[in-house]
């Protein structure tokens, strides 16, 4: 591979990786604060994309407007998820996996019913790629990366600088202790689900601007989110971001070498590898 191609791969990887981290937030937040493993994560993202797509088709709204709209539209789903998953018995991790697995399938079929199996895309405008330091990157992707990093950064500030955010972090570290300190863990739980739904929904719109939507596209995203959560460590934003960038780069390099159709395989293989390494204690993370 030529140096130019390598650098290009790296750049693409970083850009994509930041988006992966952003998407994975929706999954990681819920996991950290409620211990729920939401296997329907990918479907929630894709659904957000479909909602954005329909709005775009109907009223031609620009993506920047579609993002918050889809995020808003996804909030009720977050509440529903919270309602269902709040009642799951021990072991929470395994039972939430089962329940959300089914919910994900349900969503997948709903989407199939409403939008059919055709591949859809929210087409961006045909602006030329932006050249940054000699590397040409598509504008749309850069915008996505910017929004991703911006949101991650904003969330970091909220989590560390506000009382509300600190309450969330305390709940993620030790719900019992947090409860004893007067933090309303139920509200924290609901907040995490709502926030996650909004991120998933809005992120879905961004996803749909450069990736074809189809009902089964969610599985890969869920696997990615799982990989990042394991890699970055549950409850660590910086870890998530770094993990996202790492996977983005690894994926980009693998793709240049092997070809784009192998992307999903790379993701699945990475997840397996991380799971095995994690259980040997080689990867960062809270024991849970």
């Amino acid at each position: 591979m030529s140096p130019a191609a390598l650098v290009h791969s790296l750049a693409v990887g970083l850009v994509t990786g930041s988006f992966y981290a952003f998407l994975a937030l929706a999954f990681a937040l819920v996991l950290a604060i409620t211990r729920v493993l939401n296997l329907a994560h990918g479907e929630l993202v894709v659904l957000g994309g479909y909602i954005g797509y329909s709005l775009w088709k109907a009223w031609g709204l620009p993506p920047l407007l579609l993002v918050p709209l889809a995020a808003l539209a996804s909030l009720p789903l977050g509440a529903i998820w919270r309602g269902l998953l709040g009642r799951v018995r021990e072991p929470v991790e395994l039972n939430s996996l089962v329940l959300t697995f089914g919910l994900g399938l349900l969503l997948q079929n709903l989407m199939l019913g409403v939008w059919a199996g055709d591949y859809r895309l929210i087409a961006g405008d045909a602006a030329p790629p932006l050249a940054l330091g000699g590397i040409a990157l598509p504008r749309g992707r850069l915008l996505v990366a910017a929004i991703s990093l911006g949101t991650v950064g904003a969330l970091h500030l909220v989590l560390t600088r506000t009382r509300w955010g600190t309450a969330l972090r305390a709940t993620s570290l030790d719900p019992e202790a947090a409860g004893l300190m007067g933090i309303n863990t139920d509200r924290a739980s609901l907040t995490s689900f709502l926030l996650a739904a909004a991120i998933a929904g809005g992120g879905g719109v961004l996803f749909a601007t450069f990736h074809y939507l189809h009902p089964a596209a969610g599985v890969e995203l869920t696997l990615l989110a799982i990989a990042l959560s394991i890699l970055g460590g549950v409850g660590r934003l910086s870890g998530l971001l770094l993990g996202g960038l790492l996977i983005g780069v690894v994926e980009a390099l693998a793709l240049t070498w092997a070809g784009p159709e192998w992307r999903e395989l790379v993701v699945a293989a990475i997840v397996l590898l991380l799971l095995l390494l994690r259980s040997r204690g080689l990867v960062a993370g809270r024991g849970h």
Partner: protein, 329 residues
């Protein structure tokens, strides 16, 4: 859902066969009914096809239940199902192997496919294993999708031969051959499970499921028995996959390696009663028939709803599944 990794109260009747309780009478009655059903239904092809498929799904659920009995919860059974389907398909199309032999070999292939994830079970527990099995199935799906040279890629494989026994053993034809074949496979799956349950192997599996560490301290080798459980479950699932391939005569990666065949046995077995013998197949038949007979004609878009509802129901209301309702512990 009853905690399958620990304190579920369903390992009990391991030694003794159902002592003429309501379930065993139900089982025998069900078997008799199944045998005479084609006559009752006047050999109507749709009903034979329906129940034949139901028996196949029940076999798959039973295979999944066997693995769950050993405490291993798989979210990726489609991996073994798909390997079975593709093995027999490729053998038939490339080498002209007769489907009967192909199906047997597919069982072996399913067992082999189960070994890597079975070995991973040494390291992965509970949710981690669930996720790992999910990723594994996904891995195989993408492999099948992209290894076009071997598998025909996304277009799948068409024109698979049906099963012949003298005449055509069509799954939808009057001769009901396919129906009885599916029933036979189900009985085979149940027989294998029943025999293993009563043996040393079943005791080891139950011990691992109930408390793996203690089982180790009492001399049980979890690695060995988990591998065995995965191999058995994978073999049965592969068998069913192969049968499915020759029944519908067309397979593609997104279908046979997809989430549908991973989640169905999970829901069916859990709904029917985890850790019991007859629970998984019963759950499978009930859910499948409800979905096909009630929902499909009335609300076709939502015909997967009973599965989702069953899942929610089990998680919240029926931790022991149907078997629990009948008082089987």
């Amino acid at each position: 859902m009853a905690d399958p990794g620990g304190g579920g109260g369903l390992g009990k009747e391991r030694r003794r066969s159902p002592q003429g309780g309501p379930v065993s009478r139900l089982g025998v009655g069900g078997l008799l009914l199944a045998v005479i059903f084609p006559f009752l239904a006047g050999f109507h092809p749709y009903y034979l096809y329906l129940l034949g498929t139901g028996f196949l799904l029940a076999s798959l659920a039973s295979a999944w239940g066997l693995l769950a009995y050993a405490g291993q919860i798989s979210f990726g059974h489609a991996a073994f199902f798909g390997v079975g389907a593709y093995t027999t398909a490729l053998l038939a199309l490339e080498l002209g192997v007769t489907p009967w032999l192909g199906i047997l070999i597919a069982g072996g292939a399913g067992a082999l496919a189960a070994l890597p994830i079975g070995a991973a079970a040494h390291l992965l527990r509970g949710a981690y294993l669930a996720l790992g099995s999910l990723a594994y199935a996904e891995l195989l799906r993408v492999l099948a999708l992209n290894w076009t040279g071997l598998t025909g890629g996304g277009a799948g494989l068409i024109g698979l031969p049906g099963l012949h026994l003298g005449g055509e053993l069509e799954f939808a034809r009057e001769r009901a051959g396919g129906y009885y074949l599916s029933l036979a496979v189900l009985l085979l799956a149940l027989a294998v499970f029943a025999l293993l349950r009563r043996s040393r192997v079943g005791l080891a599996w139950a011990a691992i499921r109930e408390r793996e560490e203690r089982a180790q301290l009492l001399g049980v080798s979890p690695t060995r028995y988990k591998l065995l459980a995965f191999a058995c479950s994978g073999a049965l699932a592969g068998l069913v996959g192969a049968l499915y391939a020759h029944a519908v005569r067309f397979i593609e990666p997104d279908l046979v390696f997809g989430r549908y065949f991973s989640i169905l046995p999970l829901i069916m077995a859990t709904f029917g009663g985890l850790h019991t013998l007859l629970g998984p197949p019963a759950g499978a038949l009930v859910l499948y028939l409800v979905s096909e007979l009630l929902f499909h004609p009335l609300l076709p878009r939502l015909h997967q709803l009973p599965y989702a509802l069953a899942l929610i129901g089990v998680v919240f209301f029926l931790p022991r599944g149907l078997a629990g309702l009948l008082g089987r512990r």
